[in-house]
């Protein structure tokens, strides 16, 4: 493997581990806030006990997960220094705001939330709990705005003197891609936390301990999870439309679609043909079960809309909203224009060295003309500009199939929990609820895999491919830190799970029907 491959693996591993902690923080903080509100409204000690129990699990996840994202920032400086410089303040500004405002807000109110019982007024405590949730959610906003900019770079102008993209419109960072991506990630955190709460509560039911507490928790977790999942599906639909507009190649890879068409169906289940390429005549799938019109509806909200496939995009063929066939810029042409942009940058560099002002201005004007294809100049063939189809295709299906399963999961959980004393007797259902918990994480991680593998080969869409974003470093140092990091995060994960299990076991022996939780 090359240094680019190792660095990508390292970044992927870091992000995967980081995302194990984040969605639970986003959702469990909301569940705790809802339960505390119910306590304040009802004055029932039962809700107080439930609030404190879930707050303890939230605290464990928060403590273990806090600052895990910082490793990603280190990797930007070490492995992706060209990228870090190239994106300039556009990427830096949201991350700085995240660090300064949201994270500190979250951290401050976490302290009041945990230490403030009996020290501040109940209303102030409740406000701190809600602000902890808000802080976590705002924190996610800035991260996802930065990520969305990489998928759809906008609101900036490239300055060859600084070799940076300089932000010229901050508000353009809040693009449709950014808003959908943010909401999709946050709502999926609600759904994940709902599954977690139901799974843990089911264990209490299985052990016949604190059954009243478990039932109350399942009701809150079930409703929040269901709402979160429906909103995740809604924003996922919005994301698909945005991806179609701005990253059509990613959509085609998600679908394993090489030759598009009108009224395009979507593959519900199937196997992609690994030897299929954009320019051979082999079949796209080894087998497939296709839902008619599905992809046209998903991509363009239109039964009969045209959706281009990988080969169509490479060849520069698309159809506009009026149904007219249009020629977009083919990938071969993009590569040519990208190389011209590189030539202009080289000319700028030479003119600058010679203090030739006129030459510099001329080179900048030429560079601007082709800058939108700058990244394609790094490719020698169009094959390099196509994302890994198999990983994107299967990740998308894992996400969607598991997402659909969890919709059923929430519906069954809510149906069961509202039937008087019924769920308590259904051991098989309790087991399913428990066993399903890790699959929700798999679903969530698969979603990120679609978003990040599907946008390859780009770090910044169309402007900077992964292979150009890498620093000049040796593979050996990346391999060392890869394993070091893998070890540390695995230890942290094991610590989190074991501390959580110990706390759940401890609380299961406590009467949570009265306020004796700590």
């Amino acid at each position: 493997m090359t240094v680019v491959d190792w660095s990508r693996w390292q970044f992927a591993l870091t992000a995967i581990y980081h995302w194990l902690f984040v969605p639970l923080t986003l959702g469990l903080s909301l569940i705790v806030a809802i339960m505390e509100s119910l306590y304040l409204k009802s004055k029932s000690e039962k809700w107080l006990a439930a609030t404190k129990f879930w707050m303890t699990l939230f605290g464990i996840n928060f403590a273990i997960g806090v600052a895990t994202g910082i490793i990603l920032e280190f990797e930007f400086g070490t492995n992706w220094s060209n990228y870090s410089w190239f994106v300039g303040d556009i990427f830096g500004a949201p991350l700085a705001i995240e660090g300064l405002v949201a994270f500190f807000m979250e951290s401050t109110f976490v302290a009041v939330m945990f230490f403030g019982w009996n020290k501040v007024s109940p209303r102030f405590h409740l406000a701190a709990t809600w602000l902890t949730w808000l802080g976590a959610s705002i924190s996610a906003l800035w991260i996802l705005v930065a990520n969305a900019w990489m998928q759809y770079p906008t609101g900036m102008e490239f300055d060859p003197a600084q070799m940076r993209n300089v932000m010229d419109n901050f508000w353009e960072l809040f693009s449709g891609i950014a808003i959908n991506k943010y909401m999709h990630a946050v709502f999926s955190g609600w759904a994940l936390s709902g599954v977690f709460v139901i799974g843990v509560s089911a264990w209490f039911l299985l052990k016949k301990r604190n059954e009243g507490f478990a039932v109350r928790s399942i009701k809150v977790g079930g409703w929040l999870g269901l709402v979160g999942l429906l909103l995740t599906m809604w924003t996922g639909d919005g994301s698909a439309v945005e991806v179609t507009k701005h990253q059509p190649m990613k959509l085609a890879a998600m679908e394993g679609l090489y030759h598009g068409g009108y009224s395009q169906g979507i593959v519900a289940a199937g196997l992609v043909n690994p030897s299929k390429t954009w320019n051979n005549d082999e079949d796209e799938y080894l087998f497939d079960i296709t839902v008619p019109y599905g992809l046209s509806i998903l991509a363009k909200h239109n039964l009969n809309a045209y959706v281009p496939g990988i080969s169509d995009i490479v060849n520069g063929i698309d159809v506009n909203e009026n149904g007219d066939t249009i020629n977009t810029v083919s990938y071969a042409e993009r590569i040519r224009l990208g190389k011209l942009a590189h030539e202009s940058l080289r000319a700028y560099d030479q003119a600058r060295a010679a203090h030739d002002e006129a030459g510099m201005n001329k080179a900048v004007a030429e560079l601007k003309e082709n800058y939108q294809f700058f990244g394609y100049g790094y490719f020698d063939s169009v094959d390099e500009a196509i994302p890994p189809v198999g990983v994107t295709f299967y990740s998308f299906r894992i996400m969607v199939i598991l997402g659909s399963y969890f919709l059923l999961y929430f519906l069954v959980a809510l149906f069961a929990v509202y039937r008087k004393d019924w769920l308590q007797k259904q051991n098989w259902l309790q087991w399913i609820a428990i066993i399903s918990v890790p699959f929700m994480w798999l679903c969530s991680e698969a979603g990120w895999c679609v978003a990040e593998v599907g946008r390859q080969p780009w770090t910044v869409q169309d402007l900077l491919p992964t292979k150009a974003a890498i620093s000049e470093i040796s593979s050996a140092s990346v391999i060392t830190t890869f394993w070091l990091f893998a070890l540390i995060f695995t230890v942290l994960l094991v610590a989190e799970v074991s501390i959580m299990l110990r706390q759940i076991s401890k609380y299961s022996k406590t009467n949570l029907e009265i306020d004796n939780a700590h």
């Binding site: 605290g59 945990f114 230490f115 600084q162 070799m163 150009a468 501390i499 706390q503």
Partner: protein
């Protein structure tokens, strides 16, 4: 409302009772929130030990030894950094 006082011990061991300002009262409350909170923690102590160990490993061991910021480390001005990145991006 009863007035609140703070006792200050001076270097010569003399004591002086001073009326606390609202700010001092607030700061005192914040101090006690954290002080009592940390003192009364149960599982939190383990978590704090993990957090501190983690931050040490992240910021001292990993950041200093394994994750230097290459552009900051190898170049002293933004112009030099821009030149390096330009050269890198043109070369590739």
């Amino acid at each position: 409302m009863a007035e609140k006082y703070i006792i200050i011990i001076f270097a010569d061991n003399s004591l002086r009772k001073t009326r606390m300002s609202n700010l001092t009262v607030t700061l005192g409350k914040i101090w006690h929130l954290y002080y009592d909170g940390f003192r009364e923690m149960t599982v939190g102590k383990t978590l704090w030990a993990i957090i501190l160990l983690k931050l040490f490993v992240f910021f001292v061991v990993m950041k200093l030894l394994f994750f230097p910021n290459i552009l900051k480390q190898d170049y002293s001005t933004d112009e030099e950094r821009a030149d390096h990145v330009r050269e890198q991006l043109i070369k590739r």
